[in-house]
């Protein structure tokens, strides 16, 4: 594995990387999401993309604070992140978290942060279509892969096809869920829900969504969000299913096939 540089190191050496990889809090601290972070950096290495991370200069985008209603805290986070970002040069930001993606892309510009922002599935789909990445082992043929649309990638930003384009390179078809794309059911994590107990009801949202995934009779459920990954893997532990179902991020799947 190549050494992962910080943007500070590269810029100091006069190098402007193509990609600033925004790792996100989940991608940095959560065990499951870290695997995605690793897979994604592996793929960047394999595609010979020059990239860097902010390292310890990265801080929460403010998404959970904003969606919990704390605009002060959000703007404090946003403005100091923008100050950091504006002090470096890179050509685009790529992140594996749809919440970070949405916030930096849509909410930072008004506060002075204007960047080209891509979700990692968009960037991976680009790397595949431009030939920088080639699938060597489409090992998943025969396995039914489905995709769970993250709310903040799909409905919020209308990014439906790029993750599917990646899956199509790995499997002859996508075993679509009944509720997908615009109608995709939330995993239950967004809007700061993941940080609290849910209100009383008759079911947890992640269980409901996992049941829908189990009904689709898939072997693999691909996701594109660290929070969806957490919620659904927790769901899988609690929902009975006839066959084994595993959850992987798109980056993890692709990394296995290259």
């Amino acid at each position: 594995m190549n050494k992962i540089s910080t943007i500070k190191e590269l810029n100091n050496n006069g190098i402007q990387p193509e990609v600033l990889f925004w790792v996100g809090c989940a991608g940095s601290f959560d065990d499951q999401a870290r695997k995605v972070t690793k897979s994604f950096t592996n793929l960047l290495d394999k595609a010979n993309v020059s990239y860097a991370v902010l390292g310890t200069e990265e801080s929460c985008t403010g998404d959970p604070a904003k969606r919990a209603g704390n605009e002060f805290l959000f703007q404090m986070q946003a403005i100091s992140n923008i100050q950091t970002l504006n002090s470096y040069s890179f050509s685009k930001i790529v992140t594996a978290c749809p919440h970070c993606f949405n916030t930096i892309k849509n909410e930072y510009p008004e506060l002075g942060g204007n960047y080209e922002v891509l979700h990692h599935t968009e960037f991976l789909s680009f790397l595949l279509s431009s030939g920088k990445l080639r699938v060597k082992k489409p090992d998943f043929n025969g396995k039914k892969i489905t995709f769970h649309d993250p709310c903040y990638l799909g409905r919020a930003n209308k990014v439906y096809e790029p993750p599917r384009d990646v899956i199509k390179k790995l499997s002859t078809e996508i075993n679509e869920l009944k509720n997908c794309k615009e109608k995709g059911l939330c995993c239950g994590a967004g809007g700061a829900q993941i940080f609290k107990e849910s209100e009383s009801g008759n079911k947890e949202v992640n269980i409901k969504r996992t049941e829908e995934i189990v009904e689709s009779n898939s072997d693999i459920v691909a996701v594109g969000c660290p929070f969806c990954k957490l919620m659904i893997s927790d769901g899988i532990k609690n929902v009975k299913s006839k066959k084994e179902l595993v959850v992987y991020d798109i980056a993890e799947l692709l990394d296995k096939a290259i």
Partner: protein, 435 residues
């Protein structure tokens, strides 16, 4: 002559009441915060044509979409007939337009009759869906009582109006055949000709009275319906147009950045604020009551059709939580009406010690939202229930500090160590070295 006077009086009275109601709605909506300048007018007009006029979103569910389209198209087109009815009513003549339109008149009447029949069929199917099949979103708790009755009343009114229209034509034909008074042979009646048998045993005079009664009841029914709108979810037939026009064009994930907060944040971070914030009035952050919402949100409250598409896709609602985005809209309207009535009575708003949050909407509802945008996506007329939820959260967090403990912990973590969990920021790069 007398009939003309009676007609004109009833007509003017109904239109005046309608105008008063419209003014009230306008005044109540104006209680909200102004919306910033409306840009991209062309794009908005296109969207309105597509979604409100063209009903494109209704076809997410094709069968109801089609039935709804029939009722809607018929509603628009049969209004052409209304024009003649008004002219007849004022002039005291019968079928005033017929001599001018010739055979096209026959075509129009035949066309309207077929539409009327299709409307009756569609409305019966709607009634069955609501009352016999009992589709989930129509029998939920938030629709109990008046909303459920309202929905059925509308269906009954529509059936009655269409029946009266056909009945008018059925009796008219009999009178035409009998060469009764000024009933000249105009019109072509593909549907109502099957109804004439109903009256075959009656005298011509009796048929004449039935014809007149149908005519009067029909127009009175329409004028009643016009004034019923204000009390009903049926306001959407008018308000869906402005509501779609003013709805959000940007990506659904983008939440507004509150300007009032920005200045303070810039001060705290020692960045020059755009203007001196000392002279600006300190306004309430977020929303506690309808006054704190913006005018688009209040317009939406009046526009909501209570169809429940939003709630039927809401992850919180379908897993049995109290939150229902439909009921967020309905409660906003109820509170706004209460405030409006208070103003009608007292000339200005007298504090009633009530508010939208607390007396109408419970905290438990507000905290169950995952901000997933499913409600916004599914609304056929561009309503954004999530924005109201978020504004109330802002009030609870920034004015009341009443967020659930775990949420407060999450926010403290972000403040202290830049992540929603309690991790040392130096550990952010641990993933690089560990596996």
């Amino acid at each position: 002559m007398i009939s003309s006077v009676v007609f004109v009086s009833i007509f003017i009275f109904s239109i005046s009441v309608f105008a008063i109601n419209c003014k009230r709605i306008y005044r109540n909506i104006s209680l909200g915060k102004k919306i910033p300048n409306i840009d991209k007018k062309q794009e908005r007009i296109k969207k309105t044509l597509l979604i409100a006029f063209g009903q494109s979103k209704m076809f997410d569910r094709p069968v109801v979409g089609f039935l709804h389209l029939i009722v809607y198209v018929a509603f628009l087109l049969i209004n052409i007939e209304l024009l003649e009815i008004i002219i007849d009513g004022v002039s005291g003549k019968h079928r005033s337009l017929a001599p001018y339109l010739g055979s096209f008149y026959n075509f129009l009447i035949a066309f309207f009759e077929i539409l009327a029949l299709l409307v009756i069929i569609s409305v019966i199917l709607f009634w069955i869906r609501r009352n016999i099949i009992r589709i989930d979103r129509f029998i939920k708790n938030d629709l109990k009582g008046w909303p459920k009755l309202d929905a059925n009343i509308i269906l009954y009114i529509e059936i009655i109006l269409m029946f009266l229209f056909l009945n008018m034509n059925a009796t008219d034909q009999i009178l035409q055949n009998e060469n009764f008074n000024n009933y000249l042979e105009y019109g072509s009646f593909p549907v109502s000709s099957y109804m004439t048998f109903l009256y075959s045993d009656l005298s011509v005079e009796a048929v004449f009275y039935i014809e007149r009664a149908s005519w009067w009841l029909h127009i009175i029914g329409i004028l009643f319906f016009l004034n019923y709108l204000y009390y009903s979810k049926h306001l959407h037939i008018i308000l869906a147009f402005p509501n779609v026009y003013f709805s959000n064009l940007e990506s659904k994930g983008k939440l507004s950045n509150m300007k009032s907060v920005l200045n303070e944040v810039k001060l705290m971070l020692n960045i020059d604020p755009e203007h001196n914030s000392t002279n600006s009035e300190i306004e309430r952050l977020g929303a506690k009551d309808v006054f704190d919402l913006n005018q688009f949100q209040l317009l939406s409250a009046y526009t909501c059709t209570e169809c429940g598409r939003c709630s039927s896709e809401c992850p919180a609602n379908i897993t049995g939580k109290l939150l229902s985005p439909r009921s967020i809209m309905m409660k906003t309207r109820d509170r706004l009406e209460e405030v409006g009535n208070n103003i009608n009575k007292n000339k200005q708003f007298l504090d009633d010690n009530k508010s939208l949050l607390g007396d109408y909407i419970k905290k438990e509802e507000i905290w169950a939202c995952t901000t997933c945008n499913a409600c916004v996506e599914s609304c056929p007329i561009g309503i954004d229930p999530m924005s109201i939820i978020l504004d109330i959260r802002r009030y609870m967090v920034m004015e009341e500090s009443s967020a659930p403990n775990e949420i407060n912990n999450m926010m403290t973590n972000i403040e202290n160590n830049g992540a929603p969990w309690q991790f040392n920021n130096q550990d952010r790069i641990n993933w690089i070295n560990n596996n």
